[in-house]
Amino acid sequence: MIPASLTPEEREALAAEYVLGTLEAREAQAVAAALDSDAALAEAVAEWEARLAPLIALAPPEAPPPGLWDRIAAALDPTPTRAPAPAKRPWWAGLRDPWRMGAIGGTALAAGLAAFILLRPEPEPRLMTVLLSERDQPAWLVEADGGGLRLASVNPRPAPEGRALQLWALPQGATAPTSLGLIPAEGRINVAPTTIRPSPGMLIEITVEPPGGSPIGRPTGPILFIGRLSPAAGT
């Protein structure tokens, strides 16, 4: 609430200091909340914004961290905005829910986990994703490493009886995934750079396949986990 007892001069000073940024949190919130209903105050604030706007040029421009737009897009819209769009019916059609869960949840979670997992400083933001279980629990960590890719189980969980878990990557713009191999029982796998070069936006998924892997070089079973590589925050 802006006190009704304020003189016009005090209201003018309040508007000026709101725009300048020196009000305390409570005062600033009160002014912001009053702007919708108090047209005179809103007018005074707009005038101060216009007066001081040229000072904005004193802030040196600086490039934001890579991946920030993806975070904004994910926060704006819980559905994927940059799904790869091959002309034909995609092989993951009908699997929207795990896709969404993994890609968006994984990105958000990756930002949180990155701080704990990435102990070594990296000159470039490291590409990573966390694949989530159907209960949104972290299940697998996928990281770019040494030019290739490394997968590690966070919550080890065996493949279904008599089946194998196969790891796949789908670079952005590609129409068919590349097999990265079967996941051994100990839940860790390193993929050489000759097999795949990690790139931002690359989809990573784990499917259930016959023993020995998919016979056709493409996923045949259901996707258990999926996520999208993005630069880890804070590096």
């Binding site: 003018e12 000073a13 000026a16 200091e17 725009v19 300048l20 940024g21 020196t22 305390e24 949190a25 600033a28 912001a32 707009a46 914004e49 216009a50 007066r51 001081l52 706007a53 040229p54 000072l55 904005i56 040029a57 004193l58 802030a59 040196p60 421009p61 600086e62 490039a63 934001p64 961290p65 920030l68 737009w69 975070r71 904004i72 897009a73 926060a75 704006l76 819209d77 905005t81 925050a233 804070g234």
Partner: protein, 179 residues
């Protein structure tokens, strides 16, 4: 390129829910706007969070932008400043303010050369030049670097009440000068 002519239709598209237009604004403006947030927060992670908040606000409030009342760049930057200031306040403004590059140099009128050279920028620069140096410096530290009265007082080694009064007086003189 006339950036204003470019941004205004993009903002109308954003008001209609167009995400591609929002992304186009991000691509054109994010370096400038991230600089605005980082000048206030001096912490790239926090500045990224502030810029994210700001873009959510831009998406939701694009319909409030009125091109007859101001330039789109100024509107965008104001939203980023308020988002960054909110974050600075939420952190108790416990933001390093002893950065040697941060306003220990007096803000001479010549230092304001980077202020935009258009008509409004020139008028503001001329009016700032008429203020006492300490008033000018207080206004720039607050507006550009998000310093609170207490931080400015500590930096200038002056009593808090004095700084508040000077800044307020400086603002009112600025308004008279610009009228």
């Amino acid at each position: 390129m006339d950036a204003a002519a470019d941004l205004t239709p993009l903002l109308s598209a954003v008001a209609g829910g167009d995400r591609i237009a929002l992304r186009a604004i991000y691509e054109r403006q994010s370096t400038r706007l991230f600089g605005v947030a980082n000048a206030i927060l001096r912490d790239r992670d926090a500045a990224a969070d502030a810029l994210q908040d700001a873009f959510l606000r831009i998406a939701h409030r694009a319909h409030q932008f009125d091109a007859s009342r101001g330039a789109p760049e100024a509107w965008l930057a104001a939203i980023v400043r308020y988002a960054a200031l909110d974050m600075a306040r939420a952190r108790g403004r416990e933001i390093p303010s002893d950065d040697p590059a941060l306003g220990d140099q007096p803000v001479e009128p010549e230092a304001l050369e980077r202020v935009s050279a258009d008509a409004e920028g020139r008028r503001l620069r001329n009016c700032l030049a008429t203020l006492e140096e300490r008033n000018r410096r207080g206004i720039v530290l607050a507006f550009v670097h998000g310093l609170s009265h207490a931080q400015i007082a500590a930096k200038m080694e002056l009593p808090l009440g004095t700084v508040k009064a000077w800044i307020r007086r400086g603002l009112l003189r600025l308004r008279e000068c610009l009228t």
